[in-house]
């Protein structure tokens, strides 16, 4: 290991230890915000694993997240299955779906992929509602566990740490190297013998896996699951915004975006509940026009200018 890597690892361990301690020093309102932030950290970091190097805007987070939450809900309510079992099954279901979507769209131009994921959450929601109304009967699903916010927070933290480790490992692996080449020039990647479609599909499956896992873990927070709640298209956009705001070319970039944005979003939903959509739009525009490389990019170019 090089010195820089040891340093990064040390910083990571310190941050993780600090994060573990959060529920011990805060409770109630702030803990619930920290839990939300942790959820978005896991989601947007895993989103950036795929969308960062490939530059493909995946809007499927809401769909995978919903699959996680819904499977836990229907498993526990309709079939009286264990929470842990469902939380373990859901990510693999999402991964399989990601495989199918990836095989159908990622072999083609990137735009098709973006469009396909755009309506995905809504489409699955329609399907699930239809199946529920016509075949299952019940509409609301209850997820009753004895988890407190602190438990959920720690579980999400564990997922976030696994996401970071996965990202670190991918960066060092052949797959990560291949993806960086694909992101720079797909033609070149093909010519040096990289199976571009498979590399993208594999990573997309990873993203789907983590999104569903997070959805499953967060389900007890809602306690009452309805397709309209868990399959929220807005979630997909929030994850994209937070990741881009932080910067997707570094593993820790999304983290930098999530924390300020979660706080801001919380304030907006409290003080201007009717203008959340407008605010979402403005943030997208600001990011594209003013901070195209995110906070991390701003910070790095500022640092480079200082050194000169």
């Amino acid at each position: 290991m090089k010195l820089a890597e040891v340093r990064n690892l040390a910083v990571g361990i310190v941050v993780a230890l600090l994060a573990i301690a959060v529920p011990l020093v805060s409770d109630g309102y702030w803990l619930s915000i920290a839990t939300t932030a942790m959820m978005y950290i896991a989601l947007s970091t895993s989103w950036a694993l795929f969308s960062g190097p490939t530059h493909l805007i995946a809007l499927s987070t809401g769909a995978f997240f919903g699959i996680g939450g819904y499977l836990v809900g229907t498993g526990m309510s309709d079939y009286e299955l264990d929470f842990w079992l469902m939380a373990a099954v859901a990510p693999f279901v999402a991964m399989f779906l990601a495989l199918l979507i990836g095989l159908a769209t990622l072999r083609l131009s990137g735009v098709y992929f973006v469009i396909f994921t755009l309506g995905l959450a809504e489409m699955i929601r329609n399907l699930v509602s239809w199946i529920q109304n016509n075949f299952l009967g019940s509409r609301g699903l209850y997820v009753l566990t004895d988890f407190t916010d602190a438990h959920i927070y720690w579980m999400l933290l564990a997922v976030a740490i696994v996401v970071f480790l996965t990202g670190w490992w991918i960066n060092r692996s052949r797959l990560g190297f291949a993806l960086r080449i694909i992101g720079n020039d797909e033609e070149v990647a093909k010519h040096v013998g990289i199976d571009t479609a498979w590399s993208k599909v594999t990573l997309f499956m990873t993203t789907g896996f983590f999104a569903a896992l997070v959805g499953a873990i967060v389900a007890p927070r809602y306690s009452y699951i309805e397709p309209n709640v868990v399959f929220s298209p807005q979630l997909s956009f929030l994850v994209v915004i937070m990741a881009l705001l932080g910067g997707v070319h570094r593993l820790w970039g999304p983290l930098v975006g999530v924390i300020p944005f979660t706080l801001m979003w919380e304030a907006i939903t409290i003080f201007f509940p009717s203008s959340t959509t407008l605010f979402l739009g403005i943030s997208f525009l600001l990011i594209v026009y003013l901070i195209p490389n995110g906070f991390v990019g701003m910070f790095e170019s500022g640092l480079a200018r200082l050194r000169r």
């Binding site: 530059h55 159908a104 755009l118 399907l127 739009g281 525009l285």
Partner: protein, 287 residues
């Protein structure tokens, strides 16, 4: 038979909005995800003028056309052209324009919700009309006729006039048309503005028979995109056929199975196109 007629009528209006997006994506190369909001904006103005001062939606369509043309021209000139200039390659432009138009779409939804947060319900020409033995609402038929007229005019203009040829040239290759003396930026801005205007007209027509609301735009964007991909990017004729197919399938699924599954049926079509004809119905396979 009922399904066939109302499916075709619905498809006719879909064709109009898809033509609008096709001009924007095929010529100006901007994947405009705020297209659906432009449509809803057209619907909102029709609703608003009709309920406030009883202006006929057909008249609104004529008023809204130049306004949305100017609006979209300004959007292209001041928001999107900087992105076109900034991007080094087509991929970068695609990512930027997708994000920027998402921003616009959300901002527009936000504004429209604050203007009118409920459904745009009004009733215009809701009288029955008998076509080939099956009964359809008069407003659907009127919207279809208007869509056909506008679509036909657009098709004629693109294929038979000098300016239309320039637009098609840019859609084939922006670089080559620059070399033969076409002002690519101006044509792109024009195509983008025209596309926006056509979509907004489509919105005023659709609002006479489908109840819109401020946040429904993304659904129409989705449908327009599926139509364009099915018809082949930049191909007006393909888009019309594809729109009719989508209209028919959606109506069939809504009548026979469940109205909640129209989006799912659109996805099935989309998936089939991606798997079997990713180059579009009439497109040639590139090597």
């Amino acid at each position: 038979m009922d399904i066939l007629i109302s499916g075709l009528l619905l498809g006719g209006t879909y064709a109009l909005m898809a033509m609008g997006l096709n001009l924007q994506y095929g010529v100006a190369r901007i994947m405009n995800l705020a297209n659906g909001e432009m449509l809803v904006l057209g619907g909102l103005s029709a609703f608003w003028l009709f309920t406030a001062s009883a202006v006929s939606p057909l008249l609104t369509a004529i008023i809204i056309a130049p306004l949305s043309f100017i609006g979209n021209w300004l959007i292209y000139r001041y928001l999107l052209l900087p992105l076109v200039r900034r991007s080094k390659n087509q991929g970068q432009l695609e990512v930027d324009s997708i994000l920027a138009t998402f921003g616009m779409s959300f901002a527009l939804v936000g504004v429209m919700v604050s203007i009118h947060g409920e459904y745009f319900t009004y009733s215009y020409l809701a009288d029955p009309l008998s076509v080939f033995g099956s009964t359809v609402a008069l407003n659907r038929a009127v919207a279809f006729v208007a869509a056909v007229a506008i679509g036909g005019a657009l098709y004629f203009w693109l294929n038979r006039t000098y300016a239309g040829t320039a637009v098609r040239a840019v859609s084939v290759s922006a670089e080559a048309s620059g070399l033969v003396g076409i002002n690519v930026d101006r044509i792109s801005a024009f195509a983008f503005a025209l596309g926006g205007a056509v979509t907004a007209i489509g919105g005023t027509l659709i609002s006479t028979f489908i109840t819109l609301d401020a946040s429904i735009g993304v659904l129409f964007t989705m449908k327009a995109l599926i139509i364009i991909i099915m018809g082949g990017v930049g191909d007006i004729r393909g888009a019309i056929i594809a729109a009719l197919i989508l209209g028919l399938v959606e109506t069939a699924v809504a009548t026979i199975v469940d109205p909640g599954l129209t989006l799912a049926s659109a996805y099935v079509i989309f998936l089939a196109v991606l798997l079997f004809r990713p180059q579009g119905l009439f497109g040639r396979r590139t090597t």
